[in-house]
Amino acid sequence: MRRRFAALAGAGLALTSGAAQAHLVNTGIGPVYDGIAHLLVSFEDVLPVIAMALLAGLNGPPAGRQVLLVLPLAWLVGGVAGTLSSAAPWPTGPATVSLLVLGALVAADFKLSPAALTVLALAVGLAHGWHNGVAMTVAGLPTAGLLGTAGAVFVVTALFAATVVALRRPWTRIATRVAGSWIGASGLLLLGWTLGSRA
């Protein structure tokens, strides 16, 4: 009886379904999804966000909350400024500096004052956002994508910073520092790759 009812209900739903809006261009928020996807598939952008979140997490919950607010906003502001700029994009520049500095700070478990952490998050957000804005303008993409990217920066920061804040066992903190070491090493290698003209 129950199965028959479920089959009938399923058939009813299938027959009364509306037209699918599968193409995001109809909804007008396609560029926002593009912005979200951009961050998640762009290693040179998402890795510095993760590094910033790890650093914020190692500095405690207040630092995490601070970075959670500052980083996405700075990314958005930098992005808007980038769309107004006529400069040429420099793909590896912001990533190289961010990875090297943030990775080294995480590896050293460096304690930063709230003001210093804010300045750092501001600098990372502005630099990467600016580069995103410039690249989007060059590619002729809608600037609404910046909203999606900033939103994704917020989510990634929240997830990683909260995870690190919740770590209690000593070895987990060391594992975080090892991750920082890997990130810093990647930054130095990216610098070598850029200077070696292989980019």
């Binding site: 070895w171 070491s181 090493a185 130095l188 292989r198 980019a199």
Partner: protein, 201 residues
């Protein structure tokens, strides 16, 4: 499977087969990015000399205990990156293969003899050899692949090899485990001698 009358559910196996047969997705404009990561990830494990030396670093760290057990995995990638940096810039480093083979010999000997030098000396020894390993990785970046993903791949693979060494080094808690670790160190050292012979030949 319930009772003798019920049939085996093939769906998980079919799903697994489909997942394994899936071809790589090219979802991003920057083609070759994923290939760069995989190439980097496979590079350290494609040479037995790298593998043995990296595992020996972990084994030695576990033998030395805190703080060496965490100091070595944190510092090694950063120092290795200096070697990689030089390699990517095209700065020649003489005797890279000899240095890598010698790292296996010396690190294996340290594990085999359960040497406990001062922490700074142990870190300096490991850091010295890290430059050779990094240089070898740095010079072998295939053209057309992402430098960042290749770099991250080989750094992660190296870190995982350290983790394997540290995990094996947990045997150090038991007396028989300590003997096994020293035996493993001797084996690494002997293999290193073979690599050294080949590098010098």
């Amino acid at each position: 499977m319930k009772g003798s009358g019920s049939r085996l559910d093939h769906r998980p196996a079919a799903l697994l087969m489909l997942a394994l047969l899936a071809i790589p997705a090219w979802a991003h404009e920057q083609s070759g990015q994923a290939a760069g990561f995989v190439t980097g990830l496979l590079h350290p494990v494609s040479g037995l000399d790298h593998v043995l030396a990296m595992v020996a670093v972990g084994l030695w760290g576990a033998q030395l205990g805190a703080p060496a057990i965490w100091l070595l995995p944190v510092t090694f990638p950063l120092v290795m990156a200096i070697g990689g940096f030089l390699g990517l810039l095209g700065v020649p480093l003489p005797g890279v293969e000899v240095g890598i083979a010698a790292s296996a010999v010396l690190l294996g000997a340290m594990v085999a003899t359960e040497s406990r030098p001062p922490l700074a000396l142990a870190a300096a020894l490991v850091a010295f050899f890290a430059v050779f390993h990094g240089h070898a990785h740095g010079t072998e970046l295939p053209p057309g692949q992402s430098g960042l993903l290749y770099s991250f791949g080989f750094v992660v693979a190296t870190g995982c090899l350290h983790a394997v060494g540290i995990a094996l080094g947990l045997l150090h808690r038991w007396r028989s485990g300590r003997v096994a670790l020293r035996g493993a160190g001797a084996a690494v050292g002997l293999a290193g001698l073979v690599f050294l012979w080949r590098a010098l030949a």
